[in-house]
Amino acid sequence: MSAERATARPAAVGAGAVSTVSNWGYRLQRLPLHIVIIIFCVMWVVPTLGLIINSFRSVSDMASAGWWTVLFPPHGFTLASYQQVLAIEGVGSSIISSVLITIPATVIQLTIATMGAYAFAWMKFPGKDIFFIVIVGLMVVPIQMTLIPVLQLFKVLHLNGTIQAVWLAHSGYGLPFEVFLLRNYLGGLPREIFESAEMDGAGHSVRFLRIAVPMTVPAIASLTIFVFLGIWNDLLVALTFLGTSHYRPFTVVITGLVTSLGGGWQFLTAAAVLQMSLPLLVFIFLQRYFVRGITSGSVKG
């Protein structure tokens, strides 16, 4: 998350001419600024940190003392919560299900979206503007508005409770936003390239596959991360279409355990850490793409 512009403000600390005394005065004056920022940072980091620390403690420790006590000896770290959570029937397979839902769903919707976006960016046809305005509108439609009929559709197709149903549902729900974003990106590519390709006799399939797709890779990369994590973190779609199925993803299984365990739920810390480790790793290592995906998606509801 690097600053695009140097953050140097006028009267920045360390200006050579400033005397030591006024420098200290300046620093003192800025002290409240630093304190406020640090308070916010602590409030935003400590909850996650506390959970991660707790996940390495035993359940009895968690129930008898707060996570901060472990900072002092005896530490008593243990992997017991992880062993316990992975030993629960269905937890291990739900992690596999999450992967099996997320990867194909991402691939399916992005390939279809890229093709549709190309049509909206570089082809002329009657009704195009209307179609696209509908797509802009669909981006914010709450999926609650669609759940029941889609559920019935899957029932007719005998897809209820299958992973394939969730691939299709996610793809349908994700498409409007992806078409919108990719169309804007594709539409911003230089017209001359497409025109000269057309002069050379390249058909749309060549222009799409050889020019449009390679030039859109940066946008597709950011979008892939965004979409992938959206599906990995999804609860509502999976809960609706896979509620009691054998293929419930990790989020649904964790949620089920939270409500069913009542007391002794503390070892779920390990499950939560496992669930969020993938998004956090992606964020840390692919920060630039991740933030770009988020900012470009700012109009998505």
């Binding site: 439609v141 054998h246 700012s298």
Partner: protein, 337 residues
């Protein structure tokens, strides 16, 4: 690994390869057919052929279900008859019975009230804090580190965030050791522990705060990107004229950021209305914390499709004005292209 899982892995692997391959086949095959058509037909049919997969998906999974949901909302639970005549347990009732239920039943009214609370406080605080933090960190040299800290909850799923906060809100009776961070902190100043998620004066605020915690980083990043595009000369000139930092933020920075703030605000309002995960995981609507989306899901799970559809329509109608704002903004952007 059992046979079933293995089958699923193979199916998934096939799908990952086959779907793009099928689309390639669609493109090449379709283009081949189109090229053999008369010129006039070619020109006419080609764009629709290219737009078809995306538009088709959107139609099947969004447009058609939306229309169907509207129809459902006027029918009974089992979708066997219209809500009129004698379909309400043999009692005469109105075609709007599912809506009347939503706007008169105490439980659903509570969920409506809570969604309004979410709408106001979640939006206000997420955008407000995002703006404040973006402006503050712009003035320190450890900006990127501070932004990472605030952004950290954004990639985390609402399910994991809920478990994180289940610990923060953990409550033990007065006199025993507090294991929840918040109760330990207020214990330091001698306050009795609070059952944050059960106590009806704190639980909605607590849930909304979890939402704010997950969304502030998002608002901050977008507002910050826009803040960086404000020319430093403008700010410089204001400082020369003797404006202090507060005046600069209030009179120059905030107005210049206003378009971005409205975009982020719209997104947050929509998120607030659609809030589901946090409430579902932390309380599942117990102790008067229900929101529209959890209410709808409960009706759905009870197979009360008519009522669930009506809740869905109410949610949609609430979002329509924002949808129109988005469309208007899109049209303005198009005019500038």
């Amino acid at each position: 690994m059992d046979q079933d899982t293995l089958n699923q892995i193979i199916t998934a692997a096939i799908a990952v390869v086959a779907v793009p391959a099928a689309l390639l086949g669609y493109i090449y095959g379709g283009e081949w057919v189109i090229e053999h058509l008369p010129d006039g037909v070619q020109k006419w049919i080609r764009p629709y052929f290219w737009a078809l997969p995306a538009v088709g998906f959107a139609t099947v999974f969004m447009v058609y279900p939306m229309l169907r949901t509207i129809v459902f909302s006027f029918r009974n639970s089992a979708d066997t008859e219209w809500m009129n005549g004698l379909s309400c347990n043999g009692q005469p009732c109105s075609i709007f019975q599912n809506y009347i239920y939503f706007f008169t039943f105490p439980d659903t009214l509570t969920s409506l009230r809570n969604s309004v609370l979410w709408l106001i406080f979640y939006t206000l605080f997420a955008v407000g804090l995002g703006l404040i933090i973006a402006i503050l960190v712009d003035r320190v040299h450890y900006e990127s580190l501070a932004k990472i800290a605030i952004f950290l909850p954004v990639p985390i799923s609402a399910v994991a965030a809920s478990i994180i906060w289940k610990f923060m809100f953990d409550y033990q009776p007065t006199g025993t050791t507090q294991t929840g961070t918040l109760n330990a902190v207020i214990g330091l100043v001698g306050h009795d522990p609070v059952a944050w998620l059960v106590n009806s004066t704190t639980n909605n605020a607590a849930l909304i705060f979890v939402g704010i915690w997950t969304a502030t980083g998002f608002c901050m990043v977008i507002i910050s990107a826009s803040l960086k595009s404000i020319s430093s000369e403008v700010l410089e000139a204001a400082r020369m004229d003797g404006a202090n930092e507060f005046q600069i933020v209030r009179l120059i920075v905030t107005p210049l950021l206003w378009p971005t703030i409205t975009v982020v605000g719209t997104t947050m309002i929509i998120n607030a209305l659609k809030t589901f995960d946090i409430v579902y995981v932390l309380t599942n609507g117990a102790y008067n914390t229900d929101v529209i989306a959890t209410q709808m899901f409960r009706q759905l799970a009870d197979a009360k499709y008519g009522r669930a559809a009506a809740v869905g329509v109410v949610l949609f109608v609430a979002i329509v004005p924002l949808m129109l704002v988005n469309i208007r903004r899109f049209q303005q952007q198009e005019e500038q292209r």
